[in-house]
């Protein structure tokens, strides 16, 4: 099966490239840039970094534009030295939307594709800027050799700035049709935005009170491709917050992702929703691979290790992460003192979770070693165990805060993208912008995307392995009962 391909870049890289490609005289132009591959389970993304401006004699502008072999050689040598790939970008000044390749465009890219792959070990990536609306199109020259070299058309090109701007390839990824169930939604932001949002591949990490609610509301909004990742089973102590889960789910030892998928499907408005589930942990190598196939991630987990992995990939692999959480303070007598919930988008250009003090890297090793679940360790260090207070009546506010960040980051109402870190204080009922900035010397906010060369923070996750083993080791009568329930669920959905 051919791997899917895509391209992602920061708003800063986009601006630097547009500076080179958009000319005052309206002629076409070109430039080169370096990229790093980010390899997911089913998709490879080229993470475009800084451009390499051409010297005067390295391209000829004559209405159209012609690249010289010298420029390609210089770019490929630099890419090779920096263990990067090479991108050949050119502009179609009046073009709008995803651009088809003309014969000369194809011939030019094909003529250098073998050489570039030979020199860099990575496929040449071709990109076209539609100057009319600043849309992008792209392809990876990743199969065939010699005269048979050929491109794989990308599914999309994503620019991560104050908003997530996506140009879609309608041929590989057509917009799902809006339907009568989505009339009110489409009327809120228009058919074009709906066609964009509905196609985005969104991953929800954590299917607890917040993650479950986020997933079903995304499904209700018409998103087609939603993945929910969690390895936990539903337990009795979850029932006061996991809206939709029942005592019956506990007795059948259902996983949280099963319940989340069931609830998301019940609320989905797309004609053919694809709600996938994964019982992996984002801390496991395969969990990370799964995550890299997505355009956007919701972080609905509070443990430091998964948060550290997500914090990293927002910068190294340009997958924006919408993050939030709740903290409930209690008095010594157990009564409530206050509650605060926060939300922010973790992405290049915004401070990371460490700089916003939403992640303590000193706790990651503890979590990775399973010590946060180890009673003998906790007994000796009671202060190091994260507090677990949560209330269903308030967790919905965290969901709302995350989804509001999502809408601002995706739709930019009034032209304003993500608002930065926000905090709501329950006792005073005040919403405030948090004045966090990236700290000098922050080692997590990589200046250039690293992709597959990122430092690997994943590893074997004992808690995930144990939960999967518990889910798998159920008596036959429970399996039979699950199948029966699933059948009833499917029949109900078919008739809804």
């Amino acid at each position: 099966m051919t791997r899917a391909t895509s391209v992602a870049m920061t708003g800063q890289a986009r601006d630097a490239i547009c500076e080179l490609l958009v000319r005052d005289d309206g002629q076409e132009d070109l430039c080169l840039a370096l990229y790093r591959p980010s390899t997911g389970k089913r998709r490879t993304t080229a993470l475009v970094g800084r451009p390499l401006p051409p010297h005067d004699a390295e391209r000829v502008v004559h209405g159209n534009v012609t690249v010289t072999g010298e420029y390609i050689m210089r770019g490929a040598e630099m890419a090779s030295a920096e263990q990067s790939g090479l991108v050949l970008l050119h502009s179609h000044p009046g073009g709008r939307g995803w651009q088809a390749m003309s014969g000369p465009d194809r011939d030019t890219e094909a003529s250098y594709a073998n050489l570039v792959r030979e020199m860099t070990g990575l496929p040449l990536v071709g990109m076209t800027l539609g100057g009319g609306d600043r849309s992008w199109s792209a392809r990876h020259w990743d199969h065939g050799v010699g005269r048979n070299v050929a491109p794989t058309e990308c599914a999309n090109v994503r620019v991560i700035g104050d908003r997530l701007t996506v140009t879609w390839n309608d041929r590989t990824t057509p917009a799902p049709p809006a339907n009568h169930r989505q009339t009110r939604t489409v009327s809120a932001w228009g058919a074009t935005v709906q066609a964009d949002l509905a196609r985005r591949r969104v991953l929800v990490i954590g299917a607890g009170s917040v993650g479950l609610d986020v997933a079903l509301r995304l499904a209700a909004s018409g998103l087609v491709n939603i993945t929910i990742m969690d390895f936990d089973l539903v337990e009795v102590r979850n029932l006061d917050r996991l809206v939709g889960a029942t005592r019956h789910d506990v007795s059948l030892r259902r996983t949280k992702v099963h319940v989340a998928r069931r609830e998301a499907l019940r609320n989905a408005t797309a004609d053919r929703p694809q709600i996938r589930v994964s019982d992996l942990s984002i801390c496991e190598p395969d969990g990370l691979l799964e995550a890299l196939d997505h355009d956007l991630i919701f972080c609905c987990v509070d443990r430091p290790w998964p948060r550290a992995v997500l914090n990293s990939l927002a910068y190294t692999d340009l997958v924006p992460v919408i993050d939030g959480g709740i903290a409930i303070d209690t008095h010594p007598d157990g009564t409530m003192r206050n509650a605060t919930w926060r939300s922010h988008v973790v992405r290049p250009g915004r401070p990371c979770m460490v700089c916003t003090r939403q992640l303590d890297m000193g706790q990651v090793a503890l979590d990775a070693q399973g010590l946060l679940d180890d009673p003998s360790y906790i007994a000796g260090a009671p202060d190091q165990n994260p507090s677990g207070q949560n209330v269903a009546a308030l967790s919905i506010s965290v969901t709302a805060a995350l989804l509001a960040q999502y809408v601002s980051f995706s739709v930019a109402p009034g032209g304003i993208g993500d608002p930065g870190p926000l905090q709501y204080v329950l006792s005073t009922h005040s919403l405030g912008h948090l004045d966090h900035t990236s700290k000098a010397g922050c080692m997590y906010e990589a200046a250039e995307p690293e992709g597959d060369q990122r430092q690997d923070l994943t590893g074997a996750h004992a808690a995930a392995e144990s939960a999967r083993a518990r889910a798998a080791s159920v008596p036959r009568w429970i399996r039979a009962r699950r199948k029966l329930d699933d059948l009833v669920d499917r029949m109900n959905q078919d008739h809804s």
């Binding site: 550290a308 303590d360 890297m361 000193g362 990651v364 090793a365 503890l366 260090a381 590893g459």
Partner: protein, 114 residues
């Protein structure tokens, strides 16, 4: 380079003479406070804990058994006669990782009673 090799490089840069022995990176440190102030103390970190260095700092500080700390959550070290102490480092991720780690361990050694 893998994590513990980067750690060794960082400790070398600080002149702490790191060496890898039986699954530990052992290095010299001279505390400025506590019972061991002014004397060089061998301290160590497990190689297994350094896989994600420098992004993720280790948790356990391995010390010779005769170094006693006032308040500690400890377990036997993999090195005979040594003890590993649970200590969480605060504010990780901004400063030079080698310097931050050495300061952290110096602070812990400053608590030494013997």
């Amino acid at each position: 380079m893998v994590g513990h090799e980067v750690f060794v490089e960082h400790m070398t840069r600080l002149g702490l003479h790191p060496r890898v022995e039986a699954g530990l990176v052992i290095y010299d440190l001279e505390p400025v406070d506590g019972a061991r102030a002014g004397t060089v103390v061998d301290t160590a970190v497990a190689v297994d804990e350094l896989g994600r260095w420098p992004q993720v700092p280790p948790h356990w500080i391995h010390l010779p058994g005769d170094v006693t700390l006032a308040r500690t959550n400890s377990r036997p070290s993999t090195r005979p006669g040594w003890t590993m102490h649970s200590r969480q480092i605060a504010g990780w991720g901004v400063d030079d990782p080698g310097v931050a780690w050495a300061s952290h361990v110096r602070g812990v050694l400053g608590e030494a009673r013997s």
